[in-house]
Amino acid sequence: MSRQAILLGLLLAAFALAPLVAGPYLLSVLVVVMYFAYVGQAWNIMMGFAGQLSLGHTLYVGLGAYTAAALFVHLGVPAALGLFAAAAAAVAVGGVIGALGFRFGVKGVYFALLTIAFAEFTRILFEHIPGLGGPAGLFLPVGDRGGIDLIHLRGHPLMFYYLILAMTVGIFLLCRRLVRSRLGYTWLAVREDQEAAAALGINVFRAKLTAVMLSAGLTALGGVFFAFYYNNLFPNQAFSMNRSIEIILAPIVGGLGTLFGPILGALILTPLGELITMATEAMGFKAAGIKQLCYGLSLLAIVKFLPDGVWPWLRTRLGLEPDAGGEGES
């Protein structure tokens, strides 16, 4: 535990001090790393803890992003208020999907496909809503990039850097609390065996629904960040299957159901993507697709050779204690 705390402290210090040495490019990469660590952690609540596979998780990113952005663009609602509406929208939709799926016994692959279906449905739906810009996109007016306005989320890139850092730390601490809480144990039980969980007095339906709704709401906050950081939203990006895949890669590559997994996964994958871009450009390949091709190959190698994720493998090498329930020693 203490060694883990040290590791965590070092990581945090590195991120907090990075702006002192890093240029704008590196900072923008670190923002992406933390963003994926954040949404990965949010997704992990549903899959890693409660065992419910969502393959359409970008739905909640998109809903959160669009809700807060539309409120800001059309009504001037500041992000600090809009995020409540964003989370509420995602929680409601997550609740509907969960309730439909779990009530009607849609399980395993079928539930995963249900989540994809909802995300794709919403993508096409949003392309046909003129008020949200349709396929041409929704743009947020770029304000003063020098100041710091946390209420409206307008300002200096460093503000966004520290905001996403705070969010990532926040969700890490939240998840840490959760896995050691009654609710967390309830989820683990449901993940491991629903029948046995029910026999121990756990309301399985409610447990799964809580996980989906909490995960959806937290993911939507990531979406709010995304909208105000990039200032533009397109349905075929915000709701695309590719985004959903990106979201779940970090926690799976890092180690499903672990607290460090999403962070480590994001730390590996985002820089990997950037490195591949740089390497291919340095070698003179300009062709489209080469980067993604290498990315796909790396991914293949990771799932093939470290199927449990990098963190459980690394953890044993560092001699660290398991960090969450569900990581007992074998």
Partner: protein, 288 residues
């Protein structure tokens, strides 16, 4: 107006039959190997590129090149199962998903690298021929493609009913432990099944290349389409795949006709959601 609509519906039905053949491949693979092939559409796109190459370089009609393409895809599927997927058969679903997504990413970007981002289409000499059936106008290519798809589906059904290998594969699907006990080589049969499912994809890709253009992004779209069709029809049910394909084919043209062509996908996903919730075994699937 009504004639136009009727023409559209016939078009939808015929296109749907070709979709069915592709979806059939997915259904066969899932029914036996129990792995959802998330790279299914990407494989279809590769088959379409193969058809395009044969046509452009050797002036080979896709209908003639079809057996060759099917054979190539059979080999691809066989090797994929043997070398890659087999190790994941007993792993949790999300691992299989990531594995096949990685494969899909590789395939999409491989095509992007080799063929570029533009759409490639095939224009056969009889491309604009039509038959007049009463008041209806039926495209010759579409009719040919649909008939071929139907014939191949029929052959596949015969294969599973009549041949020893087909029966052995069905045994694996029905009772894996039993199949092992009577000494079937499950690994081998899984690879053959993945090969057969991929051969369906190859054939369907060859036929589709007559009807639609192919570009790298076709892959993910076709994957979705295949999912919708098999879930609507019933995963593992061959008749279901045919029905699902025709249904989605028709619903697409109807959505395009009455609403906007860009909304057709929304329509299909809405049908998928309804089926998943109300009848997860699909229209023709057996109740558990």
């Amino acid at each position: 107006m009504t004639i136009d609509l009727a023409n559209q519906i016939v078009t939808g039905l015929l296109t749907g039959l070709v979709y069915s053949l592709m979806a059939l491949g997915l259904s066969v693979i899932f029914g036996v190997v129990r792995v959802v092939n998330f790279a299914h559409g990407e494989m279809t796109a590769l088959a379409m590129y193969a058809a395009w190459m044969l046509f452009t370089w050797l002036e080979l009609d896709p209908l003639v090149g079809l057996p060759l393409i099917a054979l190539l895809l059979f080999a691809l599927g066989y090797v994929m199962q043997r070398g890659l997927i087999d190790a994941f058969v007993a792993k949790p679903e999300h691992m299989q998903f990531i594995l096949l997504v990685a494969v899909a990413i590789i395939m999409v970007n491989f095509s992007l690298l080799v063929f570029g981002p533009d759409a490639h289409g095939i224009q056969v000499p009889y491309g604009f021929d039509t038959y007049e059936v009463g008041p209806l106008l039926v495209d010759k290519v579409r009719l040919l493609a649909a008939s071929a798809a139907l014939a191949i589906s029929g052959l596949l059904m015969l294969f599973f009913r009549r041949t020893m290998t087909g029966k052995a594969i069905r045994a694996c699907a029905d009772n894996l432990v039993g199949a092992r006990v009577i000494g079937l080589n499950v690994k081998q049969l899984y690879a053959v099944t993945f090969g057969i499912g991929s051969a369906c994809v190859g054939a369907a890709g060859a036929l589709l290349s007559l009807l639609i253009d192919v570009m790298p992004s076709s892959g993910p779209e076709l994957t979705m389409l295949a999912f919708i069709i098999v879930i609507v029809g019933g995963l593992g049910s061959m008749g279901g795949a045919l029905l699902g394909g025709m249904l989605i084919g028709v619903s697409e043209v109807l959505a395009g006709y009455f609403l906007m062509p860009s909304m057709k996908g929304m329509f299909s996903f809405a049908i998928l959601i309804l089926i998943l919730v109300l009848r997860p075994q699909g229209l023709m699937g057996a109740r558990k």
